[in-house]
């Protein structure tokens, strides 16, 4: 492979609905990535499959230069640990598409929000999920995303407590340096899916609205202070495209993934434990 040629992306077994939105994303980066067959290219793993962690191991062992896991569902801890070890020992970047915590507009301003975290009283996040995106017994993906978002700003997720959990949603709380954290999700077929997050302190308040995966709708992130509201740059890019570019850049050695696989696995474990899915 040379720097000037696109990296090859090979899809493993995957639901048609899922592959479609990734093909749309790939079509928007033809200079970087192209679908094809190559064991040393990037392997796409469908996280909805119960065997997804084992498939990551197989891809790494077969010589893949990178792996993208879409919507990882619940999987045995031992399998996840094995996948993390395999990726680490071969130095293969494994990316996971997360709609909120991987969002570029969020990441660009996360440091600023982090410096104000100590002033916050409320962190209130809710993800609204399309019924078609619910797989497995638990809604792990949204919670992993919310944990990643929280830790990016607060440095920790605190001690997570399950307040409510069902097949259709959850409410998880914690306390991070005096800030009341609530992370919840609900399944709805109403459309307008995505994530909402309010960060509220007396001097500053943020309102964040992350669109659903798939469409290239921008996240709307507004910071409110006594001078009024200021909105972060609107980036018309889908979560899938963002993730593919980040993975491409990590494989090429241009930059690191915003969320490395070992850290993702840790959040995945935390989410599994609190939702009673492990």
């Amino acid at each position: 492979m040379t720097a000037s040629q696109p990296l090859t992306v090979e899809f493993g077994p995957v639901a048609a609905r899922t592959v479609l939105r990734h093909r749309v994303a790939l079509a928007s980066v033809p200079q970087l990535l192209q679908e094809g067959r190559a064991t040393d290219g990037i392997r796409f793993v469908d996280g909805e499959r119960a065997t997804w962690a084992a498939e990551v191991v197989s891809a790494v062992e077969a010589g893949a230069c990178g792996v993208l896991v879409s919507q990882p569902s619940c999987c045995p801890t031992a399998d996840l640990d094995k996948a993390v070890r395999a990726a680490a020992s071969s130095d293969v970047p494994v990316a996971v598409a997360l709609r909120a915590s991987g969002n570029r507009a969020f990441l660009a301003g996360a440091q600023r929000t982090a410096t104000h975290f100590g002033e916050l009283a409320i962190f209130d996040a809710v993800h609204v999920i399309a019924p078609a995106d619910v797989h497995g017994a638990a809604l792990l993906g949204p919670l992993v995303d919310q944990i990643a978002l929280l830790v990016r700003m607060a440095g920790t997720a605190g001690d997570l407590e399950r307040v409510h959990s069902s097949a259709d949603g959850y409410v998880v709380t914690s306390d991070v340096r005096g800030c009341a954290v609530s992370m919840s999700a609900t399944v709805s077929g109403a459309g307008d899916h995505g994530g909402r997050v309010d960060l509220v302190g007396i001097p500053t308040r943020w309102s964040m609205h992350f669109p659903d995966q798939g469409p290239a709708r921008p996240a709307e992130i507004v910071e409110y202070t006594r001078d009024g509201g200021s909105q972060r740059e609107l980036i018309f890019e889908s979560a899938e495209r963002t993730t593919w570019i980040a993975l491409h850049d990590a494989v090429r050695g241009f930059s690191h993934l915003p969320l490395d696989f070992a850290t993702f696995a840790e959040y995945h474990r935390m989410a599994s434990v609190v939702l009673g899915a492990s």
Partner: protein, 346 residues
């Protein structure tokens, strides 16, 4: 058309910033004729502004034959006695500011007084009358019947910011949480949490009750300083997250959202005090969105309704029994939240 005489008990911020401007917005139909407030400086000044009589004693307003409607805008803890007295006097209608009362016993007393006297009692939870909310609510299919997730988020600046836009206030505006840091004992925290539910959450709770009829349990609750809460309630199937904080140094935001398996309701209310029109409400289904917004605020719509009720042209949209059920719902949540705090610290 005959003017309907309005007597107002309590001449503070709610009266000056909300009720007098709302009455003015309705033109000649309603006429403030008598205002009571034990604070002579405030009471006299406010009454003079609308050419009404002033009395120190609330009973003088209730006994006044020119008063058809009694609006109770006094501190919360005297509401029940004053509503009862106005009912006993056989007024045409009573508008009582929220909360109607602060205890179950007082709520029962009010329901009995209204039923026995036949005097309609309407509670000043203006969002319940907000025309955009009402329109969106009636478009929502199957209220209270399914799994639902509700998110109520109220983030407000200092009350002074809004009252100063709504009136030149005689006396001062009290902003919850703006005073010195309160006592932090578990009992004081529990009481502050209870008060924040009955003071602020109470606006959205009647709306939430139409989605989650109850009984509900308080699943977790925390007091926010200076003033606010973070509470989760649920009935096993349906869940509501309630968050509030004030006084912030930013623009206000007051939202109520609900999702069930096929609908999303989103209501963005204007802040209290100002007559800023209705909320912006939208209902989204798989087939797209419908949205509503009207010129008139919930305050004005509510007063128009009170006038219709007093004139015998309408019966209350929310009966006193419904209002008392709303209050019981709120009291159960306030008590449950307070208990959660005490249990956590014991």
């Amino acid at each position: 058309m005959n003017r309907i005489g309005v007597g107002i008990i309590g001449a503070g911020a709610a009266t000056q910033a909300i009720h007098l401007p709302a009455l003015a917005a309705l033109g000649d139909r309603l006429q403030p004729v008598h205002i009571a407030d034990p604070d002579q400086g405030v009471g006299e000044q406010v009454a003079a502004r609308v050419r009404a009589r002033w009395s120190a004693d609330a009973q003088a307003v209730i006994d006044d034959q020119a008063v058809d409607i009694v609006a109770i805008c006094s501190p919360d803890w005297v509401h029940a006695d004053q509503v009862e007295a106005a009912c006993r006097a056989g007024k045409k209608a009573v508008l009582c500011e929220k909360p109607l009362a602060k205890t179950e016993a007082d709520a029962t007393r009010i329901a009995e007084a209204s039923t026995n006297s036949g005097v309609p009692v309407i509670v000043g939870t203006m969002h319940r009358y907000d025309p955009a909310f009402v329109a969106a609510r009636s478009a929502w299919q199957g209220f209270g019947s399914r799994r639902v997730f509700v998110r109520s988020a109220i983030y407000l600046p200092d009350n002074n910011e809004m009252t100063s836009l709504a009136t030149n206030q005689a006396g001062s505006t009290i902003t919850p949480g703006a005073g010195p840091a309160p006592d932090e004992t578990p009992e004081a925290t529990a009481e502050a949490l209870r008060n924040s539910v009955l003071g602020l959450a109470i606006h959205n709770l009647p709306l939430i009750r139409t989605l989650i009829p109850g009984p509900v349990d308080v699943l977790e609750a925390r007091l926010m300083r200076p003033y606010g809460y973070s509470i989760t309630i649920g009935d096993g199937l349906r869940i509501a997250r309630l968050a509030a904080l004030m006084p912030g140094r930013w623009d206000p935001s007051w939202t109520l959202e609900a999702w069930d398996d096929r609908q999303h309701l989103e209501v963005r209310f204007p802040p209290s005090y100002v007559l800023a029109g209705s909320s912006a409400a939208a209902l989204t289904t798989q087939n797209g969105s419908r949205s509503w917004r009207f010129r008139e605020s919930g305050y004005e719509t509510q007063w128009r309704h009170v006038a219709d009720v007093a004139a015998g042209q309408a019966s209350p949209d929310v009966s006193v029994h419904e209002a008392v059920a709303d209050l019981r719902y709120a009291i159960a949540i306030a008590d449950g939240a307070a208990r959660t705090v005490l249990e956590r610290t014991s």
